[in-house]
Amino acid sequence: MTERTKGDLVLDVSQLRIEVRTDAGPGPVLVDDVSFTLRRGEVLGLIGESGAGKSTIGLAVLGYTRANCFITGGSLRFHGRDIRTMSAAERRALRGPGVAYIAQSAAASFNPAHTILQQVCEIPIQQGLLSPAAARSRAIGLFRELDLPNPEQFGDRYPHQVSGGQLQRAMAAMAMAARPDILIFDEPTTALDVTTQVEVLASFRKLIREHGTSAIYITHDLAVVAQIADEIMVLRQGRMVEHGTADAILHHPQQDYTRRLVAERFEAHGHHAQDSGALLELRHVVASYASLLRVVNDVSLRIQRGDTLAVVGESGSGKSSLARVIMGLLPREAGDIRFRDEMLASRLKDRTREQLRRVQMIYQSPDVALNPNQTLLQIIGRPVQFYFRRSRAEVRARVLELLAMMDLPADYIDRKPGALSGGQKQRVGIARALAAEPDLIICDEVTSALDQLVGEEILKLLKRLQEELGIAYLFITHDLGTVKRIANKVAVMLKGEMVDGGETEAVFAPPYHPYTQLLLSSVPEMRSDWLDGVLAGRAG
């Protein structure tokens, strides 16, 4: 990152402590002894897993805490004045012209009943900073700076009429409208596809550089924050783990936890699959929703025993629909699906129990994939009982065996999912799939609802199970970093069609298919000059 002269001190947070307090008494400490300063034009990246206290700190800078949370210690000095001691009216005046917030979900942050322009102009007009005409011209200027299409007319549209990436940038315009000293970005690109993320990140960076705004950038993705932050603070369970310049954190992490965060992306796995004929073969498969919207169009692919086939693409590309077609949940309109040299019926109802047993599925969100009213014994034991008709004692023994395989304690057998963490729930989902002793497991975004390190553990587990049991995976994901490490075959999908496919090394090596190249170049890399390189490459 180019060296810029940093201005005077804007924000000085010292020994911040935030706790939960309810009627029942004091709860957990969310943020404990966190201190940092922010100078004019400086960008601080806050990074950590969910529950690390990142968003809580970001909101505290706005003088706001969530219900039942209280700032119980330390100070937040904004231009020397402590935000904690401000009156409600002073805090109101602070929000907008002083500190502004950009949330993860732009769709949830805009009022669908008003045009974008009305909402972008609202704060400067309300706070009496600008006349309506001046606010309008400033908004249009911001739209232009953020590379939004037709800046003159863009604001006349309603939030649902623009794309997710555009709306996210419109929210940045809304935050910038009152020319704040500090912008707080709370995971602003997490909900976006990788290709969109690049454009939005570039717009954000341009904006804060041109205006010399200070910013706090909150994310769980170290590679994203590396593109935009001067300094990075790593948080864990509300405490600071490490704080330093972006380069120092990326290249010379001092703490073990930071090293693991940095290292995960570089880890590579070897892969080999023995050739033993096709396990699953799709030929020219076509499927639609309500015979209107074609979601899978002429897809052919082949999976062998022990293979991991990754299906990649942006949201809406038909990846998950393809999985539903293979499962029989979405009947195909045309094409063949052959499994172990048997034709699979189009509908679930027409398949044999044996066919159902051999293809299992693991879901993205373990919270809704496990019945909250059943114990792990019931959840994992049911497939054993259902497919193999074992006695009660045999089922229990098999469940214990599977729990051990998942590195889950044996005494969890009588627990319900509510008492487990997200990663543990996902392991239960895997155990349930394995209980059927399948040949193929379809994994639908199985790590995307999990924190980075937890997701990594799940991938390692799946990998180990494949080596031990020879199961094939069909791995649906939008994360290309994952694909390169675990899959030996790739299918790239775009608008329901398979645009590229083959061995991973071949697909991810030149010459690329144009869309594959776009996807690949959009995955953030953990060096601070990556975004510059991508933008330079695309401009040229």
């Binding site: 029989g328 879901y363 969100s365 019945n371 259902f386 349930r432």
Partner: protein, 276 residues
């Protein structure tokens, strides 16, 4: 502090539970507690309350306190029967519609809309006038009328839960309809259904009382709170407290059940937040 299901029970719910338990005990043990049989004339009409006749005597000279106890038996027993039957019909119908989808859902739902379009009281009137006021007819008629409301709740719950992935997992496994309904959907729909059960019980209770008051419900000489209010209403003009005893009993039980239902609903609302 009193605890139930691992939660502190708030004071109104505690009062509600006490009222319900007291009423249930009175209903269950009426023949043993009541000082006199329900239909026996034991003295002069409208005799004042004294040490023998705790609440005085009624229009025919029957003991009001004894009749209240027997009335509890009739009123609560009938309402319970109606509610249980209406839930059985409504839940089975609602779940079938939600899972069957397509024409089964359309047929059941439109039929329910049809019944809902008619005023319940008038509909009950017509049926009871034609079929007679036999207790069995009364129970079945009211249960059927009530079940359409249960149907709508049960169907909505099953549609919501049926869209969750754990139900999909069961279907993909090849489980039959019975398993999906009883093991995957019903346990997760139980909390709102129980809360609704309490509410519907009060409505059934009030409805039976209203019908009895109008002469179409429980027939004399059997005692029930609604017909007691009807029989005693004339003496309001004579400054007699007699009509207030059965009316007060109806009000008290209704409030008690509602206290408990409110608490159950609050418990359920809290339960929803856990996953987030």
């Amino acid at each position: 502090m009193v605890k139930l299901f691992g939660q502190r029970v708030p004071l109104p719910a505690l009062i509600g539970l006490l009222i319900i338990v007291a009423n249930l005990l009175a209903a269950a043990f009426a023949p043993w507690i009541a000082p006199f049989p329900e239909a026996d004339v034991v003295g002069d009409a409208w005799a004042e309350a004294d040490a023998t006749y705790w609440l005085g005597l009624d229009n025919l000279g029957r003991d009001i306190f004894s009749r209240l106890l027997y009335g509890a038996r009739m009123s609560i027993g009938l309402s319970l029967l109606i509610t249980v039957l209406s839930f059985t019909i409504g839940v089975i119908g609602g779940f079938t519609a939600a899972i069957g989808k397509g024409w089964i859902d359309a047929a059941l739902s439109r039929f329910v809309d049809l019944i809902l379009a008619m005023p319940t009281l008038i509909f009950a009137f017509v049926v009871l006038s034609v079929m007679g006021t036999d207790l069995a007819v009364l129970v079945v008629t009211l249960a059927c009328l009530d079940s359409v409301k249960v149907f709508r709740l049960a169907r909505a719950l099953a549609v919501n839960i049926g869209a969750l992935e754990y139900v999909e997992v069961a279907r993909v496994r090849g489980e039959g309809l019975w398993w999906v309904i009883t093991r995957e959907i019903l346990p997760n729909a139980l909390a709102p259904l129980i809360a609704e059960f309490g509410l519907r019980f009060t409505f059934a209770f009030l409805f039976v009382a209203a019908l009895s008051f109008l002469g179409l419900g429980v027939q004399p000489p059997a005692a029930d709170w609604g017909s007691m209010v009807r029989d005693y209403r004339d003496v309001i003009a004579l400054d007699s407290p007699a009509p207030f005893y059965p009316a007060g009993a109806i009000a008290l039980l209704t409030i008690g059940v509602n206290f408990v239902v409110d608490w159950l609903l609050a418990l359920h609302a809290r339960g929803y937040g856990e996953g987030a």
